[in-house]
């Protein structure tokens, strides 16, 4: 038998031949002892291997085996998360950042408004400590306008 015939015999065994070719091989098996012997050997090996895979058991415990997998998954998590964990937090980011910005602006604005208010307030002005000078030949003239909200202090040194 040549190589091509041997491979066709194997294809017949594995049901990989077209029906017309299968009939030819079936015919060959009736008349050729050589083909029949080879076919019998191939079939025996096929049947033997197919039903007899040896079970190779893992020696590692479930926990130990999983720990390495979990570590690797965690290491690659940000880039390749199958579920929407990151998306779950993304809505928060989408809202917190703008609102946070607006809140910060509001606080700054309130502080900015508070400063002239305190200056306008008489009570707050009263809290400003008096300035005293003991230097000879120095005189002070002060002026305060409540309507303008300003105080002017004129220091005159001779």
């Amino acid at each position: 038998m040549n190589r091509e015939s041997q491979l066709r015999l194997q294809r017949y065994l594995d049901d990989e031949l077209a029906p017309a070719e299968s009939r030819e091989i079936a015919e060959l098996l009736v008349h050729s002892e050589e083909a029949k012997a080879l076919y019998t050997e191939l079939q025996a090996i096929k049947d033997l291997v197919r039903g007899n895979e040896l079970e190779h058991k893992l020696t590692e415990s479930r926990e130990f085996y999983w720990s390495k997998i979990a570590r690797e998954i965690d290491r690659n998590q940000p880039a390749q998360t199958p579920a929407g964990r990151i998306r779950d937090f993304s809505w928060l980011r989408r809202w917190v950042l703008p609102f946070g910005g607006v809140a910060a602006l509001a606080v700054l604005l309130a502080i900015a408004l508070q400063v002239p208010f305190t200056l306008r307030s008489g009570l707050r002005l009263a809290e400003i400590p008096d300035i005293e000078t003991t230097a000879d030949g120095t005189s002070l003239i002060s002026f305060r306008s409540e309507s303008e909200g300003i105080s002017v202090v004129w220091v005159d040194s001779h």
Binding site: M1, R3, Q6, L7, Q10, R11, D14, E16, A37, L38, T40, E41, L42, A44, I45, K46, L48, V49, R50, N52, E53, L54, E55, H56, K57, L58, T59, E60, R62, Y65, W66, K68, I69, A70, E72, I73, N76, Q80, T81, P82, A83, G84, R85
Partner: protein, 200 residues
């Protein structure tokens, strides 16, 4: 009197759906269910326990990362098996770059030495228990080259067709047929030899 009936464990389909939503605990359950099978397939190709463990764990990491791509066209176990087969074949290709061709491979590629092997009548079931028989076959398969063993594993254990094997391995259908033929004939010869050794 109250009767207590245990709930059947959730199916793979249910666990996969939960895992696809990001439930790691569910994925761990899937790993526990199928880890032996995935390891065994890597081992049958690599014949090295450490490598097989590493490859099977890498397969699970890949499985998690690609879980959204699993649409249930095959069973989850089959899908995972394909992943570990691909990783094992990649590993073999990497190793092949660093080693010379095996004698078997050179013999096969030089012109079909398997054609001239005498036909062997294998009947190892005659006196062997099934566990012994399995060990004998496993021992013989370990002696095949990785290329020949892989084709045999994919055809007989995974029941893939020639076309599928060619696609997974990355070779022509002709090469698949040739490797399978050689692997079977060599295995017949090895089994006959092992049997003779035991009889002595």
């Amino acid at each position: 009197m109250s009767t207590h009936t245990d709930k059947p464990p959730p199916s793979d389909e249910i666990l996969v759906r939960l895992a696809q939503k990001g439930d790691m605990a569910t994925f761990e359950e899937l790993v526990a269910r199928h880890r032996e099978r995935i390891f065994a397939r890597a081992f049958s190709i690599m014949r090295n326990e450490e490598e097989a463990i590493d490859l099977s764990q890498e397969a699970w990491v890949k499985g998690w990362q690609r879980l959204k791509q699993f649409h249930g066209d095959s069973s989850f176990a089959t899908w995972m098996t394909r992943i570990v087969i691909n990783l094992s074949l990649d590993q073999l290709r990497k190793q092949k770059r660093h080693r010379t061709e095996s004698i078997e491979q050179m013999e096969e590629e030089a012109g079909g030495v398997e054609r001239h092997m005498p036909v062997v009548m294998v009947n190892p079931t005659a006196r062997l228990e099934q566990s012994e028989l399995r060990q004998t076959i496993d021992k013989a398969m370990a002696q095949l080259s990785a290329e020949h063993r892989t084709v045999l594993v994919l055809h007989e254990f995974e029941q893939m067709e020639y076309k599928q094997i060619a696609k997974v391995v990355g070779c022509s259908i002709g090469t698949v047929m040739s490797r399978l033929f050689y692997a079977r004939r060599r295995l017949a010869s090895l089994l006959a030899g092992l049997k003779r050794e035991e009889e002595r």
